[in-house]
């Protein structure tokens, strides 16, 4: 097969593959943004470095690697109370395929309550307001705008917990750790100004808000942050789905029901 441009092509700035001699469908070498993945990176780079490189196009500085790693640990398991993990467990307990469990976690964890959409919108706010408390004040006071979209309108300020009384300890522990590791401005500023922001928002800061600040400090765009947040929360969903699969449905809640519009009551 002749090398060079084909009638149908995929253009990429991320990935170069060189074929084995005699077989254009087998890869001899693969380069990620110019780096030889299997010849040089493998064994010499970590998961965080590879992922940072994929999205940003450059290798992270050591401090960025440590921050990204720490963020990945913080997000790895939202826990079985989280809606996305609950969804994955619904897949696991019924014996659904592994991919279905992860698709369930992704779909449920995509929205504006602790999900990818919330991180995207919170990162948009970071882009707009930066570390200017007056801009945050105006932004959080502005009425929510209705934009026709597949997404339901946000019901609370992005990055804050609508049901919280105060920021939970694990969130503040995460914020403190990440702000120590960050070479950016947002995480340290968020830690310093957290109480003021919470007062303005009327809600305590949530994991999604801390994650949004961390992704922004790592120079990810809101679109990249949304993708990574979805990705980084999957390990816990997967582990809990498998656990419930083995525990069985008799130990999994089914809940009581209170039907408000029962035809039997109409008949009576």
């Amino acid at each position: 097969m002749n090398p060079g441009k084909k009638a149908e092509s995929i253009y990429t700035r991320i990935w170069l593959e060189e074929p084995e001699p005699g077989n254009d469908f087998a890869t001899k070498a693969a380069y990620c943004h110019g780096y030889d993945v299997y010849g040089q990176m493998l064994g010499n780079s970590g998961w965080a470095e590879m992922n940072y490189l994929l999205f940003r196009g450059e290798a992270p500085a050591p401090q960025q690697t440590r921050l990204f790693d720490a963020l990945a640990v913080a997000l790895a398991n939202p826990g079985p109370r989280d809606q996305s993990v609950h969804a994955a467990m619904c897949g696991g307990v019924g014996g659904s395929p592994a991919a279905a469990c992860l698709m369930a976690a992704l779909a449920v964890g995509a929205g504006h309550l602790s999900g990818g959409r919330e991180v995207f919108l919170a990162m948009e706010i970071w882009k707009e307001c930066g570390t200017d408390i007056d801009l945050w004040s105006a932004r959080l006071a502005a009425p929510a705008e209705h934009i026709p979209s597949i997404w339901p309108d946000p019901e609370h300020p992005s990055g804050f917990d609508p049901h919280g009384v105060s920021a939970s300890t694990i969130v503040t522990q995460t914020l403190h750790c990440l702000s120590q590791l960050s070479s950016g401005m947002r995480l340290p500023w968020l830690e310093t100004n957290r109480h003021k922001l919470e007062e303005l928002a009327g809600h305590p800061i949530a994991f999604s808000g801390v994650a949004a600040a961390a992704f922004t400090d790592l120079d990810f765009s809101p679109e990249q942050g949304e993708m990574l947040y979805l990705l980084l929360r999957l390990p816990g969903a997967a582990a809990h789905a498998l656990e419930q699969k083995h525990s069985g449905h008799k130990k999994f809640p089914f809940f009581k029901i209170e039907l408000e519009d029962d035809p039997e009551n109409k008949e009576k």
């Binding site: 092509s9 254009d24 469908f25 035809p263 109409k266």
Partner: protein
């Protein structure tokens, strides 16, 4: 702060007006016994009742049914269908492939993302005109705000082959002269006269038909969900029947790399003092 009060009130119980399953006894669907009162209902009738809580006339259901039918294309090149077909060639399950393909149909330049914006535009504009506004201002404002009008223009071609048959059917059912349909055509004419090169597509037309049936943007969005489904199954089936991996195989020379030149990976120890 609101606190967790709303969560506490809902612990361990589902309070619902939508329905319930009483295993071994009966099932309730939006206030009706599914196996008694709704046992003879067509699937699309039940689906629309589930989406809206309202019932539709036989003519309306016929048109809704055909809105799905006329956009069911078993062409595995189309992006969402391709997902179903790739699942087949990669030997994934049919359900996973089709579920992913339906999820992908929620796109911003076609499918559900356009649907909800198209009906929102038509309902908003109809309301503006009813209040004395004029069409030119509404269209120009929409173009300025969104750099386009949802339901007008098409990614691959300006001609939409679905418009003639669905229009003909709507005419035969007496459903072609509602206020939103007339508006959709008026917008098409305005754009054509102004040489905007944004011809009305199937999305705008279906949004208008359903708006005339009283559907809200969210109801139209939910109605449209299975719209591409029938075309997806054949894509999966054929790919699964053919040799594994033989659908759209990409060779190394299909990939045109235009990124950074080759460079050497340095371990942190190599660059840190």
């Amino acid at each position: 702060m609101n606190g967790p009060e709303i969560l506490k009130q809902n612990v361990d119980i589902l309070k619902t007006r939508m329905g319930a399953c009483y295993p071994g006894v009966r099932a309730v669907f939006r206030g009706f016994d599914l196996h008694k009162e709704l046992k003879d209902i067509d699937w699309i009738d039940l689906y629309m009742f589930g989406v809206t809580g309202r019932r539709f006339s036989p003519s309306q259901l016929r048109l809704l049914n055909s809105i799905w039918t006329y956009t069911s294309y078993p062409d595995a090149r189309i992006w969402n269908n391709r997902v179903a077909a790739l699942a087949g060639t990669a030997r994934s399950t049919g359900n996973l492939g089709i579920s992913a393909a339906l999820a992908v149909s929620e796109a911003s330049i076609y499918g559900r993302g356009i649907d909800i914006r198209a009906i929102d535009f038509l309902i908003r504009t109809r309301n503006e005109l009813d209040k004395g506004g004029n069409l030119a201002d509404c269209v120009k404002k929409e173009l300025e705000t969104f750099r386009g009008i949802a339901g007008y223009g098409r990614p691959l071609t300006s001609v939409d082959e679905r418009i003639a048959p669905i229009t003909e059917l709507a005419r035969s059912l007496g459903l072609d002269e509602g206020p939103h349909i007339l508006l959709a055509h008026a917008v098409d004419k305005f754009l054509l006269d102004g040489r905007w090169r944004l011809r009305m597509n199937y999305g705008a037309l279906c949004a208008a038909f359903t708006a005339d049936m009283g559907l809200t943007p969210q109801e139209f969005y939910r109605f449209a969900f299975p719209g591409f489904l029938s075309g997806m199954q054949p894509c999966y089936i054929e790919a699964e029947e053919n040799p594994e991996g033989s659908l759209f195989p990409l060779s190394c020379s299909h990939i045109i790399y235009d990124g950074k030149p080759k460079r050497t990976w340095l371990r942190p120890d190599d660059v840190m003092p």
